[in-house]
Symmetry: C2
Subunit: 340 residues, 2 copies
């Protein structure tokens, strides 16, 4: 069995936000700040950056003096690069005694200047998006244990948050459950996982099988979904993850009010029904029990009352429980899951 | 625009077949022998190997004396490794003055012993399955020019052959056409292409876009399909390739008599209709004109008369032209394509 990639980060963290102005592109930083607040000392941006995680704003000097151990890159640009404009600050962070951790596609270890400073200072460059070696091809063989996968109408609308909330809720009820991270933020939060979108295409479903191995019959793996089966850029990732995860249950995640695919404005957001249909169509070849257990919405663009109205409308339309785990919690969905 | 990976091989070739006994796993060697017979000097196997491409059987010594310039690895094992039992013969080939070219997942350049001998002898180790650097994320934006993609019910049943035959037939009629290779054999045959299953999952549809760039309105790109949308191991590859290829037309390739997925005996082969439905379902989001233009079968397991009967039955059932390009040619399908 291929060993899972495990990350070990030294706390406390300083979260780096670049010059980002769009909160959705800072979901890595926001996720760590939300699920591991006790480990986050502060945040730092470049000129022009307006994203605010609500952490203390610190200079490198201040963070260093207060004992920050790791600078985590908390924002990502489309394509996953590390802009040249970041290098100077990152080098200084190493000089100030911090490790740097990142989950973007470009490897910190491939940037010559950072490598030189890392070797000089002894501080580490930690790339959490490097998959393990020698991943197998997916077998499609049914594994013991129960699995839930969060799927979506798009990227960046709550698949990770929903999975973390369900895992937390299951464990609070004394039910065996493991959150299975598939993206950089999830891996940075949970300390292990599979960077599924960095895996070579032939091995994506095999990687998903490794991420979620055989388990006790009553144990839940709650697997963080990626992308969308309908996404013009990322459908391959979502398809392989679905095939390899063999979910018994899935939750469709969407954002109320989002009409087009984020960053692909010519593409209409697929309907929830289209996502359910394609997920069942593909997933049933590896698990005939697959079913949609509920819908998880991000309703942050709406007033609370309007959000509740729209969620009730969706409940009626789909005959499924609809939650907004950030605003109203995930309890109703967990009850449904446990009752089945 | 990312430049296409181009391979330059020195002829004549010696095709290496390992100890393979199953012809389907020697499709790389068979493809080169079929489409580039003038470049193939002979074949060589290890003890136990029974696959025969119909080329002259030569020892390394004989091939070297006759002037062989490149040994091409013409067979592949599931997962794409290079068994230890091959290394001795490959080292000797380098010593005898041949380059080695391979398209399996394991890189020749990662095998220490071969690297040492390569450096000593000056002969090259050519890995055609190494994708270009800095591939973009798929945009989904519609490109000019016409595209045909061969899709399949499974791996290894004629997607490459069908694409090569259609491309050849179009050009024979004076119609602008380019064969776009996506696998090792196709790349070795055509001298360029995109090793799509070796691309990191996030960039598969982007790589397919790079492979088949904007072109004249009447130009056909005939794109070699990979895997199957229903495949438990390789669906991610097929999905990304479909999204990025934006085909106007597709051909479903299957093998008459094959009942389960090759190497995955617990999985029933999907029906042709299921493949058509899922291909249209996914493909229409990037090209609303997508349609199935015909069915290409590999009927080699049947007597000629029975093959013709079954093909006629399929024509009636699906209302589509059905060809076996190896046995009966691709002309009827090309006529259909050109008439549209």
């Amino acid at each position: 069995m291929t060993e899972l990639k495990t990350v070990e980060l030294k706390a406390p963290y300083l979260i780096f936000l670049g010059d980002e102005t769009v909160p959705a592109y800072a979901k890595t930083g926001a996720g760590i700040a939300h699920w591991r607040p006790e480990l986050c000392m502060g945040q730092i941006s470049l000129a022009g950056g307006t994203v605010d995680l609500g952490l203390e704003k610190l200079s490198l000097q201040q963070a260093s003096e207060k004992g920050a151990k790791t600078l985590i890159i908390g924002t990502s640009v489309v394509g996953g690069g590390i802009p040249d404009s970041w290098i100077e600050l990152l080098s200084q962070a190493l000089e100030q005694g911090m490790d740097i951790a990142a989950g973007v596609h470009t490897k910190l270890n491939d940037i010559e200047k950072l490598k030189v400073v890392s070797e000089k200072t002894g501080q580490r460059l930690i790339d959490v998006r490097t998959p393990p070696m020698n991943l197998p091809v997916g077998t499609g063989k049914k594994r013991s244990g129960k699995r839930l996968l969060t799927v979506g109408t798009d990227c960046a609308l709550g698949k990770k948050y929903t999975a973390l909330a369900i895992d937390q809720g299951l464990r609070a009820r004394g039910i065996d459950s493991t959150f299975r991270a598939t993206g950089q933020t999830g891996i940075l939060i949970s300390g292990s996982g599979m960077p599924i979108d960095a895996v070579v295409a032939d091995f994506v479903s095999g990687a998903a099988e490794v991420l979620s191995p055989e388990n006790d019959d009553n144990h839940w793996d709650v697997i963080e979904g990626q992308g969308s089966l309908h996404h013009p850029g990322f459908a391959a990732v979502s398809t392989g993850l679905l095939m390899g995860s063999q979910p018994d249950a899935f939750v469709v995640c969407t954002e109320l009010g989002r009409e087009t695919i984020k960053g692909w404005p010519d593409f209409k957001l697929p309907s929830i029904q289209a996502v359910i249909d394609r997920t069942v169509d593909i997933g049933k070849s590896v698990n005939t029990d697959i079913h949609c257990v509920g819908i998880s919405v991000n309703s942050s663009s709406l007033e609370e009352l309007e959000a509740q109205e729209q969620m009730q409308k969706l409940e009626k339309q789909y005959g499924l429980v609809v939650i907004d785990p950030i605003r109203f919690g995930a309890e109703r969905l967990i009850e449904k899951l446990v009752a089945n």
